[in-house]
Amino acid sequence: MTSRTRWTPYVFISPFFILFFVFMIVPVGAGAYLSLTEWAGLGTPEFIGLDNYRRLMDDPVFGISLFNTGFYTLCALLIVFPAALLMAVALNARGLKLRDFFRMIYFMPVVLSPIIIALIFGLIFDGEYGLFNAILQALFGYAGINWLTDPLWARVVVVILVLWRWTGFLTIFFLAGLQGIPRELYESAEIDGAGPLRRFFSVTMPQLRPVTAFIAVTMLFNTAQIFEEPFLLTEGGPGQSTVSIAMFIYRAGFEQQELGYAAAAGVMMFIIVFVLGLAAARVFGVGRSNQ
């Protein structure tokens, strides 16, 4: 390589690293410092040691937000993930007509603004006037569920919203992965006498592993930072029952003006996601699969 080109790749990738340093590394450091202070945004932050962390441990709302975020993430992995895989398998059926049309329709929610999605779901799951209760009433003569004002059902509706919004998006990744699996593998499995279920677990799943890992990790990190769904749909309510960690941080920092406290919650989130990320990298072998 000539000396002229030696620096070229560094120049090409430098914009990312400059922004990464200024807008990610520095904030992480600044957040760690802020988390040790009490600060309302004006004047000088006052150093208070680990007080914010002690307070977080005793704050029931922070506990709820951790629980909820864990619940949303678990639901994403146990419900959204298999749903997307099933939809992709259905769309991958041989000789399926209208495949592109179905795929496009299922993908559409990603295009919509979270505001409109929250509005629609607010209307549909309204306890008194909602479409969903009207359907229940028509089918079963029962429409007594106050979806959005019951702490348990409100969480369920948040999960339904996540399911509706993200499944089609994940489906296109699964489908692309499925389409990359050579048909010969299925044919030889069929000749060997493997039934559809057997073929799915001994051909599809192993072949799909890179995609599965990618989707699982993407979903894990995306759901861990869930904000819009509960913020817009339920405003964290009823009470604080649907608050997520990201929402907790937003509220502490920008509604209650406790920037130090919010920063401490941010540091806690960083630690949790970091540990989860390491665990996920272990389980799914991400990073190793690159080479």
Partner: protein, 299 residues
């Protein structure tokens, strides 16, 4: 991948056989019809709520919440749209959001393709470490840096919406990763070497040879980046203070959070606001799928 080990001839023969089988609609016509029923049912599940939103936006306020719900508005009214456009700076939100999203998209596509090219087609010291650093940065949740980023951006005097809403986001790791995967697959290195022998500079190689070959990936990244910016709520909520710089989601959210929950106006606004996003999506939807999945499937 393992399919490359198969002989080309036999592959083609087998393909032909599976295609023949595809013409006969499977061995199980009942299962096949069931499949279509399920897929069509899902279409209803997806399209239904969207149509419900459109329908609600044409209802008078009292009819939006009525039991049993009205499927088709009666009476149909344009009142919501008219009142929204009269009383709210809707077009200002629209222009703000669209221009921010457009600038961000152009910058993102440029920086990501450039960096993706750098990672895909050059060997340099520290490449693996740098790539892995870039890749792992995707795992950092935005909420973690929300507070300190707000503080830093304010201190550095970058809180003007046109700077704060664009600059930090123009080189996302996901985009670079995607472009790197795509460049590796679809840009032959011999082409670059030939250009070098002709005395072409590296940046010119990027602009005139590499970039044109990346079209599908550019389309996908473009849609992804436009939608991300156009629909973003949390960051504008934090950083944009002056109402004259409100973006669309921020304007609608403020209207919605205001007293009395103006469902009628917000619904009309949300339906209108979706139009540009849908246009961008429909124009580039073909690229979207192939480009987005290129990276994920192969790595």
């Amino acid at each position: 991948m393992s399919q490359s080990t198969t002989q080309p001839e036999t592959r083609r023969q087998r393909r032909g056989r599976s295609r023949q089988r595809a013409i006969k609609p499977g061995s199980n016509p009942l299962g096949r019809s069931l499949l279509y029923v399920v897929l069509a049912g899902l279409v209803v599940v997806y399209v239904g709520p969207m149509l419900w939103a459109v329908s609600s936006s044409f209802k008078v306020r009292g009819d939006i919440f009525s039991f049993p719900p009205q499927l088709i508005p009666d009476p149909v009214t344009l009142e919501n749209y008219a009142t929204l456009l009269e009383t709210q700076p809707f077009w200002r939100w629209m222009i703000m959001s669209s221009s921010v999203a457009l600038i961000a998209t152009i910058a993102t596509v440029f920086f990501c393709s450039l960096a993706g090219f750098g990672f895909a087609k050059y060997d340099f010291k520290g490449k693996n470490v740098l790539f892995y650093t870039m890749f792992s940065s995707m795992a950092l949740p935005f909420a973690v840096i929300l507070v300190p980023l707000f503080v830093l951006v304010s201190i550095m005097g970058l809180s003007h919406p046109f700077i704060a809403l664009i600059v930090p986001w123009v080189a996302p790791a996901f985009g670079i990763f995607m472009m790197r995967q795509y460049t590796e697959q679809s840009v032959p290195s011999e082409l670059l070497d030939a250009a070098r022998i002709d005395g072409c500079g590296e940046f010119k190689i990027f602009l005139s040879i590499v970039f044109p070959l990346l079209k599908p990936a550019v389309g996908a990244l473009g849609v992804w980046s436009f939608l991300n910016s156009y629909n973003n709520l949390l960051w504008p909520l934090v950083i944009v203070a002056e109402p004259q710089f409100y973006t669309m989601p921020l304007g609608l959210q403020t209207l919605f959070a205001a007293e009395g929950r103006q469902y009628d106006l917000v619904m009309a606004g949300a339906v209108l606001a979706t139009v540009p996003a849908l246009i961008v999506f429909f124009l580039l939807r073909k690229h979207m799928v192939s480009g987005l999945t290129a990276g994920a499937v192969k790595s």
